[in-house]
Symmetry: C2
């Protein structure tokens, strides 16, 4: 039996890294052979969680090939996935995003739910399989839920996420408020990050209509610190558009305490950005009050505005 590689998305965040570990453990507990892998190094927040609960980062892979078996977690779109996946066989997908750029030749297990975090779904899969969640894996899984829902404050958060978080905190013996704030803050020390790091640390590409839109997101507790680097960031974004073929690049700077975002905008489509969010782009900056979720509050209105053009 060949080992199933369990992989999250490129530019992995905490949910992607943790989902690979928690879902691989579930597969291994139900008679399969699985191994978590990653498409990049853990970010500071993820590294904090891994250390707290005693895990090494998953092995980084560059690609897959014919004969490989893949389980995708926390994503499904081809451009966010491991290179070479068309040659491999995808046996299952666990995700909480829109479905696009995904197709298979054969039936598979696909489990998507419109919840705030992939690990909320994985929590339910453990329940359904009757498999006990080890204490340290419960700690990782609750870290992912805290990360994806910004401590239950994101509009993507559902009652199911709240329920899973409470149950996992019981298993792990973790105080969610105290640990959660420490975890989120660990992800916002941006002083050591280069401008290029800020653009790539959590960025994804989205085909919208005939265009390709790049959307990066940086969590912060000090937006002004980021805005001070605006000129250099916009230069790099324009450069990346030209080099990587993006039509439009948005960098969301999300204040995780105030639950607002400010976005830098570079490329073609400022009118569509304004139409999508009902605001003005001034000097390539748009205020996005109340916006914290790329998936729920940025991608859908922007897709609609661009496709309506």
């Amino acid at each position: 039996m060949s080992t199933i590689l369990v992989s999250g998305h490129r530019n992995p965040d905490t949910d992607s890294i943790v989902s690979a570990i928690s879902y691989a453990n579930l597969l291994n507990s139900t008679g399969k052979s699985a191994k978590p892998v990653a498409l990049g190094s853990p970010n500071e927040e993820t590294a904090y969680a891994l250390k707290e609960f005693g895990f090494e980062a998953p092995e980084i892979i560059e690609g897959v090939t014919e004969g490989d078996q893949l389980a995708l977690v926390d994503h499904n779109e081809a451009q966010q996935s491991v290179p070479g996946r068309d040659q491999a066989t995808i046996i299952s997908v666990i995700d909480h995003h829109r479905i696009a750029n995904f197709e298979t030749a054969e039936p598979l297990m696909y489990r998507a739910e419109p919840v705030g975090c992939s690990n909320t779904i994985i929590y339910k899969l453990y329940q359904e399989a009757g498999v006990a969640i080890p204490k340290n894996i419960a700690g990782l899984m609750l870290s992912a839920i805290i990360s994806d829902t910004l401590l239950l404050k994101s509009p993507t958060c559902t009652p199911e996420d709240e329920k899973a978080l409470a149950a996992l905190a019981d298993i792990a013996g973790v105080d969610v408020q105290t640990y959660g704030l420490a975890l989120l803050k660990a992800g916002t020390d941006l002083s050591a990050k280069s401008d290029a790091d800020l653009l790539t640390m959590d960025a994804k590409s989205f085909p919208m209509g005939s265009r390709t839109v790049r959307i990066g997101q940086v969590n912060t507790v000090d937006t002004d610190e980021l805005l001070a680097r605006k000129a250099q960031l916009l230069d790099l974004m324009a450069e990346s558009n030209a080099k990587d073929g993006y039509d439009l690049f948005l960098l969301l700077m999300t204040d995780i305490l105030e639950n607002n975002s400010v976005a830098l905008v570079a490329g073609d489509g400022l009118a569509e950005v304004e139409a999508a969010f009902g605001g003005k782009v001034a000097d390539q900056v748009i205020q996005l009050p109340g916006v914290v979720s790329r998936k729920k509050q940025v991608v859908p209105p922007l897709t609609k505005a661009i496709e309506a053009k």
Copy 2:
């Protein structure tokens, strides 16, 4: 709250019609408002099951429009779906087929498993929701499992299908062997069917590489009776290729007692058909010993052979 329309695929079979009824009932039992609909009339087999358990056929709809909410059952591919679905919002999908030609702008509930029948998944959803299955709906659901798995003899059948069928038979108080054979035979009275009926009663279109392949399937207990109509059927298939833009048309005649198929082949791609099934096409006929499942034994090897071309 707008009512969710629960729809199976075009040319509905028993699983599609029954899934619409059983999943709509589950949604209605969990605080949603849902209504089963169909994209065509029930076939003889489905009509037998509906009558046996006291149901009317679901309302037939011609299309959906903006503002409509859709739940798809037993399919996901656009060309098998209700016209206009791009305007509607798909809130959930319950399916057991490959995933292709499917995308959404927002996250949704997508539940696919590689099992023999959509109603096996719906049975699990009832269990997970803690909702009791009414006796007459259990009767319909077991009819769908019998139909899709040819009384558990198809290679698509899994232990999960067997388990669901046994549990549903308990609830419905049905003897599976006796009822199952009567149900399958009800679907094989082909004497009143026109040649055109035979081609369309259970036919689906599949994009493969750059081609569109039409695959119809007719269950029978007397293949010779069908082969006697070969010339007229092949004429109509060639006509349909020209008129409807199919590159290749296969009509599978499946002996449900012997578990073999014979296929008529019309159009461009005889070499690929031979490569896919390792046999010879003689006078536009190919023997397919042991083949009963379009999904598992026909679509994957033919897709592979055509894409390899």
